[in-house]
């Protein structure tokens, strides 16, 4: 048996032909036919689809009302990603509109996107600098991923919830959470120093994919309350291997939760390339196994990121359920400041992606539209400088805080034996200070 045939049978799970949408706009073709290279349309593909839908309709089980509301068999064609990633801005900065993902942005919005992109890059640079100077314990850069992050976050309303991983500095800029608060995480002052409810921005999550199930729960709760908010959860390519990614997607789809799974496929999960994490044709293809659309986008195209997220966010807001977006981008920096990517990233791959920079692409677009005047550029540059200076000033040599605070937030109602341990630490600190005093 030829390799192609084996693959097609395995992936389809039966001898029924699997329909894929052909990007040329022709009739659907079978996967097997496509792989053989004979792009021959079926005689009547709609007959197969109809037959299948009817069968699935018959199988519909009797369920409690809450599930009955969301139980619907989606058309497989609506769930598969397109052949080519969705791209609205070519690498040359030329706008090619896509009727499926209309762009509803004004010039003012374009200026805002530009501002957020520049602020993100600036604060990201500051994060690396502060780490190099010993002010942050570690820093995880988002260099190269600004387009995916800013575009998707710009598609949200202020009331929508965000569940970030630990690299979403661009998302945080759009939500305008104070970077000082967020940097205290890697500074080691406290684990999370902003109020997640106030900002609707969950704590940055260190373990991989574990926040996807939190996002699913919150989205379910909002749906049960009839609250028209949408939740977005950010994760990376490596996170797809974690059980919680599966469980989160499964929960969200079973309950029709308004949740967007936004995967930034930046090519590397620390040192392991994406092809060692997943063997589906693309990450977006995983959507179909959860009955949710999987859409693949050019993640270095801020406008594609915006338009696709916007459409799926509104779909979710209107009861359409969850969706998976795979943003193809690249981690231009190390995994973290503790990492050495020269040991595993091929230089030529890095150089190729360097020419795909999301910000210069958008700048070209802005220039062509005559939106990038010196007033805007200088204004944003000034703001970026002021922001990073303020962040720097507030973090540099910031006090470490009170060691006794470690007892303060473990419980709302702390156990009584905490008092003994607190007293012990208090005594140790006092002796330490007395000794320091003697040495002075």
């Amino acid at each position: 048996m030829a390799f192609e045939d084996r693959v097609s049978i395995n992936r389809s799970g039966s001898k029924l032909p699997v329909l894929v949408h052909d990007s040329t706009g022709q009739e659907p073709v079978t996967v097997a036919a496509k792989r053989r290279g004979t792009l021959k349309p079926l005689d009547d593909p709609s007959a197969i689809v109809k037959d299948r839908s009817e069968r699935m309709e018959k199988k519909k089980p009797k369920l409690p009302a809450v599930l009955d509301k969301v139980w619907k068999v989606p058309h497989p064609m609506d769930l598969l990603p397109s052949e080519e990633p969705i791209q609205l801005l070519t690498p040359d900065g030329e706008l090619q509109e896509n009727k499926d993902y209309p762009l509803d942005l004004s010039d003012e919005d374009f200026r805002s996107l530009y501002r957020y992109l520049i602020l993100t890059r600036r604060i990201d640079k500051e994060g690396i600098n502060l780490q190099r100077q010993g002010q942050l314990g570690i820093y995880t850069s988002c260099l190269g991923q600004e387009g995916a992050q800013v575009g998707s976050a710009y598609a949200l309303g202020r009331e929508d919830w965000i569940f970030p991983s630990y690299r979403e500095h661009g998302v945080a800029r759009v939500r305008e959470v104070d970077p000082v608060r967020l940097f205290h995480h890697s500074r080691g002052t406290w684990i999370s120093d902003h109020d997640p409810r106030e900002w609707r921005f969950a704590p940055q999550t260190v373990p991989i994919a574990t926040h996807l199930v939190h996002a699913a729960g919150l989205a379910m709760a909002a749906k049960f309350d009839g609250d028209p908010i949408v939740v977005i959860a950010y994760f990376g390519d490596g996170a797809n291997s974690e059980g919680d990614a599966h469980e989160g997607m499964n929960f969200a789809s079973i309950f029709g939760a308004p949740l967007i799974f936004f995967c930034q496929n930046n090519g590397w999960a620390l040192s392991v390339p994406v092809e060692r994490q997943i063997s589906a044709p693309t990450i977006a293809h995983r959507g179909i196994s959860y009955g949710m659309p999987g859409v693949r986008i050019d993640g270095n195209d801020v406008l594609a990121s915006y338009a696709v997220t916007k459409k799926l966010v509104e779909r979710a807001r209107n009861g359409g359920g969850p969706a998976l977006i795979e943003a193809l981008t690249y981690r231009m920096e190390a995994h973290s400041t503790a990492d050495d990517p020269t040991r595993y990233v091929p230089q030529e791959e890095h150089d190729q992606w360097a020419s795909q920079d999301p910000i210069s692409r958008f700048e070209t677009f802005m220039k062509d539209r005559e939106l990038l005047n010196s007033e805007l550029v200088d204004g944003v540059e000034k703001e970026a400088l002021e922001m990073s200076t303020r962040v720097r000033n507030e973090l540099y040599d910031a006090p470490h805080g009170d060691p006794l605070e470690v007892f303060d937030h473990v419980y709302v109602d702390p156990p009584r034996h905490f008092e003994r341990q607190r007293e012990q630490l208090r005594g140790e600190i006092e002796r330490l200070r007395a000794t320091d005093g003697e040495e002075d």
């Binding site: 109020d195 059980g243 919680d244």
Partner: protein, 325 residues
């Protein structure tokens, strides 16, 4: 006075709490239409609707993870882990998130979640249905861990756990689900969740027991009477925090103590309790604190469990050893 089985009392507690607070939601595997494999959630879905009591996919990590999401959205979730060892896939969500969120966010976010877990052996079941994993939860800062030994306590403690603003692991002694006792509702609410209770006064030896072993310890005390020992039985009720005052009060009286639990001995509750008693009441002790527990082996096959589990004989053996000092 009306009587309830422990399962019925737990069911009633869930129902009463859902009635008094519409933010309380119950979910897990088979808790909806079926009413739970032990029927503890029986009738809740038909009474409160499928958005307040619902079946989830078979995914323990997501059940706890979703509970965290519900709590972030200001609900008061009561997720169920179907069996003790079935909570292990949710270990990371419980230990790394549920227990730590309040601390992580500097007190900004409270997670008032009650994770119900049937635990312990003695029901002749298959592998991984009879575990006593309380040490894992007790060892985790940020969690409260309680376990009822009586039907009345099952009702009272569950309602208190649901109202707690801290996350609670609520361990239900599954071999006592069918134990029928008198229960007058409403119960007095004067007994806080973190208090131990002297179930039987005695002067010679203190038995410290909890959950499924409370009944066994009381039986041992009764038999011990014939052998000349006046045994005091303390029901811990709360495993974290421990009620040191009640424990030490009893030790000061008897000077001898045997901790009883189904869980394996090494680093079980007995280890912590023994250390605390030694630290806090050394001069009151007439004998070392002894432990009548399960062995440091995996839980045995059903036909062997009676040999493995602490019973009246094993407890009285240790009472005898403690008395010999």
């Amino acid at each position: 006075m009306p009587t309830f089985t422990m399962a019925e009392a737990l069911n009633r507690a869930l129902r009463d709490e859902m009635e008094s607070d519409d933010r309380v939601v119950v979910f897990g595997e088979d808790v909806g239409v079926l009413g739970g494999v032990f029927r503890v959630t029986d009738g809740l879905q038909s009474k409160f609707g499928p958005e307040r009591c619902f079946d989830t996919p078979l995914a323990e990590s997501a059940i706890i993870g979703a509970a965290i999401g519900f709590a972030l959205y200001d609900y008061r979730p009561v997720p169920e882990m179907q069996f003790d060892a079935f909570a292990y896939p949710a270990f990371e969500q419980i230990v790394s998130h549920m227990a730590k969120y309040h601390n992580r966010t500097r007190g900004a976010i409270r997670l008032p979640i009650t994770v119900r877990v049937p635990y312990g052996g003695g029901i002749g079941s298959v592998e991984l249905h009879c575990e006593s994993p309380e040490t894992y939860w007790v060892h985790t800062a940020g969690l409260k861990v309680v376990t009822p030994g009586t039907t009345e306590d099952a009702y009272r403690l569950l309602r208190q756990a649901i109202r707690s603003d801290d996350p609670v692991v609520f361990l239900e002694p599954k071999r006592r689900y069918w134990m029928r006792e008198e229960l007058e509702i409403p119960v007095s609410d004067h007994l806080p969740m973190d208090r131990a209770l002297v179930r039987r006064e005695g002067s010679d030896v203190t038995l410290l027991a909890y959950g499924p072993m409370v009944k066994t310890a009381l039986e041992a005390a009764q038999v011990g009477l014939d052998m000349g020992w006046d045994i005091e039985v303390v029901d811990l009720r709360s495993l974290n925090p421990l009620d040191e005052d009640t424990i030490l009060g009893s030790i000061q009286k008897t000077g001898r103590c045997v901790v009883v639990h189904e869980a394996s001995m090494t680093l079980g509750m007995g280890a912590e309790i023994s250390a605390r008693i030694t630290e806090l009441a050394f001069y009151h002790l007439e004998a070392p604190v002894l432990r009548a527990t399960g062995f440091d082996t995996p839980y045995p096959p059903a036909k062997l469990e009676d040999y493995w589990l602490p019973d009246v004989d094993r407890i009285l053996d240790f009472v005898e050893r403690a008395s010999a000092y």
